[in-house]
Symmetry: C2
């Protein structure tokens, strides 16, 4: 395929104009929107206004006058349609890790007689770590089970108290069948918490339709909420009444400013709040999510798959010897919005790509990860990145980076 | 005392120039810096740069290139001298409520054989709520005791597993003798967590000297970190090695980007991190804390007390009939940086003051609260506010606000 064909695909793309919604650096091919999404064009001026006017001039009164009190819920209501949820089922708060803790602590406390907490060994590590700490807090009541790939369904039985899974694997992009696994769990009376961090905004999600009751996710990847932007938490309307928060801060009190000396939980999704939200970062989330305004998720998903397939095909063609092994599933429906390759020297390869102005992620131990952000990524970007990758591999320019050591990146 | 005398005090004040470090609204007497501190003059341009350049242009690489990874620790190191702590003992993360949960969960898990968790009924409610949820999580292992005023020392005994106290009471401004209570607890082998939210930046704090091992606090009051800015957590150097985090997220892993499938805790204060920090809000904290650069805390404390005494004296003189009862201790060393009055109709009085451009807090059920922020508050501001208060009371203009209902404010 020629580059000109990609230019034509860009011209014909129904999302072609979405790129204008973002402010992007010149001359960089950015394949890391699944680590940190791009800056929405509307964000900077508004955040500056929040700082100078709402904080500087309005001061304490902006909690009401500028709706700071309602931002967490407003942002949740904007995220809801992107994940197949309804208004009132999602709220923005804390980090993904803290939200996992909040949901898991509450569900384990309510668990009766079951002893196994199941997750996958290949889950994003913070989810495992959070469960380790929590299981330890419950002393001998629960055991943590790290299911091996392929063993997940068999690990879930009538003694399972909780299942915690990430929808899209951060290394390979392999995507679980959320509807099937959720049904499998519910048949056995097992609650499941889904981590949507690598899903929301780029893959099909129908939480209500799939019977999902609990989920968390971050807003700084495909939702473009900004660095470290607060995460969200979802509890289905059908589950919220029975849900009893374990981390009971004043923002989830039924009468927060009554300053009562005993806790009484709010009724709705506000149950999942704890402390005061970071307003500057929270405001940025609104801009990130609003980049999806007016878009059909079908178009977003279709473009994600086409871009991904194009990358796989160009690498297949350009490196016929198989010097890079595809780590992601070939079947589009089983793959999130990323394409990962395995290489024994994936880190030096990532550095050589960076030298060619292609930003990708290296993930321990051997993963080269291309995030596909369909709102601002063009077919020609994929063509150019594949071209750079083929050059790096065929010229072995990555060998010049053999002595580099991995940097931390989120 | 005449207003001219206050003008002279302002001219002679060693902190007179500090007001220039803030951007304040014209024509408003702001006595709510203990709810939301004022905007540091340097913050807006820098946050705009963080958004446009670090996020917009630097994207994922700003985690290293712009030091995002180290901000939480850098901000903690800047806070440390303000509370009598050393670099490496403080880190900025999450909300005050979540930090309370993190410390209390870890300390209770490590507790051996003791059953009582003690706090005060008059503590800031979120601290009580957090403990309620946590005690419930431990099932029958602990009981929560809400000590009544005057009963605190007697409530702490050899069966006490943990004490959680706020240094300065949010309603009255009454300030605990932190050194004495900490010593009382340590003699009985009881860990204490101090909440410094209403203290840091305005009252004397010498955590190391007083033998304090654990503390939390918010940054959006006297530290001027911005709306909902992330909070901080302090663990003394002498206590950090034995401290085992209960909320074990990836940001506290000894090898975060090794993505190991088992948790191993970092060694230092980074143990207290959990998830990804909200960078925009975290950057604002740096500006807030740096407003203290070059100031002697003695000067800050002295000015806080003089402003407070002036307010008490002017109200005493202006309202000799005692129509407002002082709710705060008269003795400066027993009072935080606020002056509170009781009145049966405190809410209408606060609204009448707002109509006279004086911003104060109402606190349920009957408290009118004047926050004293010595970095940007002038003696003339106190004179003008007292003058307005005397007018509101003597003209009974507050009666026009009798039908107003309380708004939520943080």
């Amino acid at each position: 395929m020629e580059r000109a064909a990609c230019e034509r695909l860009d011209r014909e793309c129904p999302l072609a104009n979405c790129r204008e919604r973002f402010s992007l650096p010149e001359g960089v091919l950015y394949f890391d929107g699944n680590s940190l999404g791009a800056l929405p064009r509307t964000a900077a001026a508004d955040i500056d206004r929040v700082v100078r006017e709402e904080w500087g001039q309005g001061l304490i009164e902006s909690w009401l006058d500028a709706d700071w009190f309602y931002l967490a819920r407003e942002a949740g209501d904007e995220i809801a349609p992107l994940i197949g949820a309804s208004a009132g089922e999602v709220i923005v708060a804390d980090s993904t890790s803290v939200n996992q803790f909040k949901l898991a602590a509450s569900l384990l406390r309510q668990s009766e007689g079951r002893s196994r907490v199941v997750t996958e060994r290949v889950n994003f590590p913070t989810n495992i770590y959070i469960l380790e700490g929590l299981v330890d807090l419950f002393e001998t009541r629960f055991d943590l089970v790290l299911a091996e790939p392929g063993d997940l369904a068999g690990s879930i039985d009538n003694d399972t108290a909780l299942v915690v899974l990430t929808h899209v694997n951060f290394r390979t992009g392999a995507m679980h069948d959320m509807a099937a696994i959720t049904a499998h769990c519910r048949e056995r009376g097992v609650p499941v918490i889904w981590d949507l961090s690598h899903s929301a905004g780029a893959v099909p999600l129908a939480l209500n339709q799939w019977g999902v009751e609990y989920a968390v996710g971050c807003t700084y990847k495909f939702l473009n909420g900004g660095p470290g932007a607060p995460a969200y938490i979802y509890v289905a309307e059908s589950a919220i009444a029975a849900f009893e928060p374990a981390m009971t801060g004043w923002f989830s009190h039924a009468n927060q400013f009554g300053f009562e000396d005993r806790y009484r939980s709010a009724e709705g999704i506000e149950k999942c709040l704890v402390g005061t939200p970071p307003i500057l970062s929270l405001r940025a989330v609104m801009h990130g999510v609003r980049c999806f305004d007016g878009l059909a998720m079908d178009d977003v998903v279709r473009k994600s798959r086409r871009l991904s397939e194009l990358l796989i095909r160009l690498v297949d063609e350009g490196l016929p010897g198989g010097s890079l092994a595809l780590a992601s599933p070939r079947e589009p429906a089983k793959r999130g919005s990323q394409v990962s390759f395995r290489h024994a020297h994936a880190y030096p390869v990532s550095k050589a790509l960076r030298a060619a102005n292609v930003v990708v992620d290296f993930r321990e131990p051997d993963i080269l990860r291309f995030g596909i952000a369909p709102l601002y990524m063009r077919y020609v970007d994929v063509w150019d990145a594949a071209d750079a990758l083929v050059r790096v591999m065929t010229t072995e320019s990555w060998k010049a980076h053999m002595s580099d050591t991995p940097d931390p990146v989120t």
